[in-house]
């Protein structure tokens, strides 16, 4: 069963977006495709959440955006990671690892 956005931990969506953008410039539709593919359809990101998140990250200066041509030859907005965003992603990733590690530890010990 796909997990919808509302069940995602607050802030998790931001980290996923940053991670995907870190792979190279990409437009909004591409990001939603990528999240679905990589998570093997487990994570569904509602467009209603994706775009506000993208714009919020851009406004914070973690993402930069350029207009370029899409695969289909249309004008598209490509997002890429800024230096600030990369730093933020690194710290978020390490936080996440610590957290999930800790949770995993507890789950194992409690079994």
């Amino acid at each position: 069963m796909p997990i919808e956005k509302s069940d995602l931990l607050q802030g998790t969506l931001d980290m996923l977006i940053l991670k995907i953008v870190a792979l190279g410039p990409i437009h909004g539709y591409g990001i939603s495709l990528r999240i679905r593919q990589i998570s093997r359809e487990v994570l569904q990101v509602q467009q209603g959440s994706l775009y506000p998140a993208l714009h919020r990250l851009e406004k914070r200066g973690w993402l930069a955006a350029d207009w370029g041509e899409s695969e289909s030859g249309r004008q598209a907005k490509f997002y890429k990671l800024s230096v600030k965003g990369r730093k933020h992603l690194l710290s978020e990733e390490s936080n996440w690892r610590r957290l999930s590690g800790a949770v995993g530890q507890i789950l194992q010990t409690a079994e």
Partner: protein, 867 residues
């Protein structure tokens, strides 16, 4: 982030956003086609999956908000969208607020015009009234002698000018019939003190202001229009007043109505005339204009110094005198201050109830909007943004209410002016920019009052999150806050009801009072006369005695009397007297009310004679006296009062000792609502040239008015008779403000209880709706339907009863405000409270019966299946 910087963080252009979103939809469509759908179907599905494009753009606002103008505009847009979606809800709120703000603004406009604004003269706050006072003896302050007025004016250093006036009724005889004319005699510098100049023509010249100079007169705008058809050539024409011809030199502006609204002409009294040199002849109501920057205390100290110099120079007449100074505005409006603030309090409570009602409505709505709010939160909208949006919605409603309320206020202040024609300055009540500003201000206050609680509650994160999923299945809460608010409404309404009830009961009690005189079948009027007649008191009293006797001989007339004051119409003249031949502690002051009446007064007013002989008309300046029983019991308890003499303290008017000829019953001379006080009647029909005439008629008094008027024209062709009114009407007019206050308060109170009823109905309905499942479950488990009705009724009634108790406590706590206006009831009158309690209970049952019955009519199976 600072506001300034954020202003440049602009949102992406609309078309850029569009193309970004379009690309996404195209991508989804392509996926669907690849999955084997037809192109149309693929596109439709893609759009569905994508969700509302507009919604997304809307949500992006949360990301790019903070530009204060844009945010506000966006909030306004969303507010209007919301109203379109629920028009009846919005209309209900707007209408309630319009009534609340309208009534509030209307009363405020009266307070603003009457109490807050300076008098309508240039620098009106510099205008003062001056009086002669007697600080050492209990004597009312008196008018000012012309010669003393001139000395004050010359010797002080704090006033720009001091002047004075007195008013008398004369007859103007240049027309076919004598016309009553109200003339103000003024001291020099009169217009200078007011700071106005004639609309046409000129002020008195210095020649006209000195003795032996040419006569001159200023006329009112009203007389100018009535007599001369507003002809500018009226200047230079003459008016014949009481036998002398006065050339008209100027016309005063229409807005000038001092000393009172009735004054038709103003004539100047020369300061150097021989008849103005008597230091004991006190004529003028004195007015002065302070110099800029001078305070009231400076002026008081300055005039006290001036008067003590005069006291040294004229010890016999001036040593005991002092100068009383009060702002003219204070004297004009102080009588209405309390009533107006009480009314204002009442309408403010009404507005508060309206707000409370709206809070209840908004709370109910907020719980329905929790889904929407939860979504916005999870999109990362800051709480502040949501609060701002919700508050904007309330503000737009409040603003609409205020605008509509201004129309209500306009109508209401028209009604108020008509009802309260006797209030001072009532023609100055206007709806102007200040009132508009006030209404806007009220709408902001209302927004804060109504908006904050529901908004803060509605945007609590954890609540939003939990209820977004579970609102339909949870057994709902008990709506504690809503019920509390209903209780508050009831309490406030009960406070108003109790106040109105107490005033009403006072009115009833007044109607039952036996005043000690018989006011029915008494016709009263005035006959024009000049103060110059007081120069020869013997001729004056003979003239008045002749009129009295001649009227008494008319068929249909039982008896006729004159009196300086009308009995029972509130007025006081407290004087200090001495009883020279009574064994009395000389240090104790004997303070008594004093009245001047004709000897026929007691028979005409049917005041009982207990002891002694009725008095006879005084001759010269010595009068016989009659005292009432309270006077005799208070001051002469051990010896028979008849035969004693009374002397005004210090013998101020050189009246000498008056023998007491009789003791009469207590009459409520100073007002029906005042207990009788020790009173002395001096027997003189002519204390003033135009006393009140009191005619006891056999039939309806006003029916005799025409006969009497015609008869007076025969015996006194040069005088005009006016102000024909029955004594009962005078008494009723004297309580007009009282009655107005009672009516308005009753009106506000009934509106308040109606609003509280609506609030109760709304809250109970809401509670019933949200607890349908619970009720259905109970019914399914075999609960009795009557028990369900009982349960809901009991809930509503217990909240109302608690509200009543709180309301009574509030009413008792605030009864100090009403205390002076009550008569014959205690501020915690049990009958009133019981009646209010019964009324509220009946109202509560009416308001809650329908929702409670509806609750019990739930079909359990149907409801349980719905879920």
């Amino acid at each position: 982030m600072s506001w300034r910087k954020s202003h440049f963080a602009r949102a992406p252009r609309e078309d850029q956003l569009d193309s970004e979103l379009r690309l996404h939809i195209e991508g989804l469509t392509a996926e669907n086609i690849a999955a084997g759908m037809s192109p149309e179907e693929a596109r439709r599905q893609a759009m569905l999956a994508f969700g509302g494009r507009e919604q997304i753009k809307e949500d992006l606002r949360d990301v790019y908000r903070i530009g204060i103008l844009e945010t506000t505009l966006a909030n306004l847009r969303s507010a209007f969208r919301f109203f379109r979606k629920s028009p009846s809800f919005s209309l209900a709120i707007v209408f309630t607020l319009a009534l609340g703000i309208g009534a509030n603004s209307a009363v405020f406009s009266a307070i603003d015009a009457i109490l807050l604004r300076p008098l309508p003269f240039p620098n009106g706050d510099q205008l003062m009234q001056l009086e002669e006072t007697y600080p050492q003896i209990a004597m009312p302050s008196t008018f000012v002698a012309p010669v003393r007025l001139e000395e004050w004016n010359r010797m002080n250093s704090t006033f720009q000018a001091i002047s004075g006036y007195y008013v008398e009724n004369g007859s103007e005889t240049s027309g076919a019939l004598p016309e009553r004319i109200t003339r103000a005699w003024v001291a020099p510098r009169f217009l200078q003190v007011w700071g106005i100049s004639p609309a046409l023509g000129r002020d008195f010249s210095s020649a006209e202001s000195s003795f032996g100079g040419p006569l001159a007169i200023l006329i009112s705008d009203r007389l100018w229009r009535r007599r001369f058809g507003a002809d500018p050539n009226a200047i230079g024409r003459t008016l014949r007043v009481d036998g002398a011809s006065f050339p008209i030199i100027g016309i005063l502006p229409a807005s000038f109505f001092f000393a009172d609204r009735d004054v038709d002409v103003w004539a100047v009294v020369p300061a150097n005339a021989p008849y103005t040199q008597n230091r004991a002849a006190t004529w003028y109501a004195a007015i002065g204009r302070l110099k800029p920057g001078v305070t009231l205390n400076d002026a008081r100290a300055n005039l006290a110094a001036v008067q003590s110099q005069l006291g040294a120079a004229y010890p016999e007449t001036d040593a005991r005198l002092a100068v009383g100074i009060l702002p003219l505005k204070e004297i004009t409006v102080s009588g209405s201050r309390k009533s107006l603030w009480i009314l204002y309090g009442a309408v403010s409570v009404l507005l508060l109830i309206a707000c409370t009602n709206i809070v209840t409505l908004l709370l109910a709505r907020a719980s329905r909007r929790q889904q929407e709010i939860a979504v916005r939160f999870s999109l990362g909208a800051p709480r502040f943004a949501l609060v701002a949006q919700l508050v904007t919605e309330v503000f737009v409603l409040a603003l609409a209410g205020a605008v509509l309320g201004l129309f209500f206020a306009k109508a209401a202040s028209g009604i108020f002016r008509a009802l309260a024609a006797d209030l001072p300055r009532v023609d100055e009540i206007h709806l102007d920019s200040r009132i508009v500003l006030y209404s806007l201000f009220s709408s902001v206050v209302v927004t804060l009052l109504c908006g904050i609680i529901p908004t803060l509650r509605g945007t609590r994160r954890n609540l939003a999150a939990s209820l977004s999923h579970n609102s339909r299945t949870q057994v709902s809460g008990r709506h504690f806050l809503q019920w509390l608010l209903v209780g508050v409404q009831v309490a406030l309404a009960v406070t108003l009801l109790a106040g109105a009830g107490l005033l009403f009961r006072s009115f009833q009690a007044l109607g039952r009072v036996s005043p000690g005189f018989d006011s029915s079948h008494i016709l009263t009027f005035h006959l024009s006369a000049s103060w110059a007649e007081t120069a020869d008191p013997k001729v004056l009293s003979k003239r008045i005695a002749h009129t009295v006797d001649s009227l008494a001989a008319l068929p249909g007339v039982e008896s006729v009397a004159t009196a300086g004051n009308l009995p029972g119409v509130p007025a006081k003249f407290q004087t200090e007297v001495q009883l020279p031949d009574a064994p009395f502690d000389p240090t104790q002051k004997i303070v008594t009310e004093s009245r001047f009446v004709s000897p026929t007064y007691f028979a005409t007013m049917r005041i009982l004679l207990f002891e002694g002989e009725p008095c006879r008309e005084g001759s010269g300046s010595t009068f016989q006296a009659v005292v009432n029983r309270t006077f005799a019991n208070t001051y002469l308890p051990s010896s028979p009062a008849v035969g004693h003499h009374v002397l005004l303290a210090g013998d101020l008017f050189k009246m000498g000792a008056s023998p007491i000829t009789a003791i009469v019953g207590d009459a409520r001379e100073t007002g029906i609502n005042h207990q009788p006080v020790p009173t002395i009647y001096f027997c003189s029909s002519a204390p003033v040239p135009d006393p009140n005439y009191l005619v006891r008629t056999r039939a309806e008094p006003m029916a005799m008015a025409e006969t009497i008027r015609r008869h007076l024209h025969e015996i006194e062709p040069a005088r005009s008779a006016f102000n024909f009114l029955s004594l009962d009407d005078h008494l009723s007019n004297a309580f007009a403000e009282n009655r107005l206050r009672t009516i308005l308060l009753a009106f506000f109170a009934s509106t308040a209880i109606a609003l509280a009823g609506v609030g109760l109905y709304g809250t109970l309905s809401y509670s019933v709706t949200t607890r349908r499942r619970e009720v259905a479950l109970r019914l399914a488990l075999g609960a009795d339907r009557n028990r369900i009705v009982q349960h809901f009724l009991l809930r509503a009634l217990s909240v109302c009863a608690a509200g009543c108790v709180a309301g009574f406590l509030l009413a008792i706590a605030s009864s100090r405000l009403l205390a002076t206006m009550l008569y014959g009831v205690s501020p915690s009158d049990a009958t009133t409270f019981a009646a209010v309690f019964a009324a509220v209970l009946i109202f509560a049952i009416l308001a809650s019966l329908a929702p409670a019955i509806r609750a019990a009519q739930v079909e359990p199976m149907q409801v349980l299946r719905e879920e």
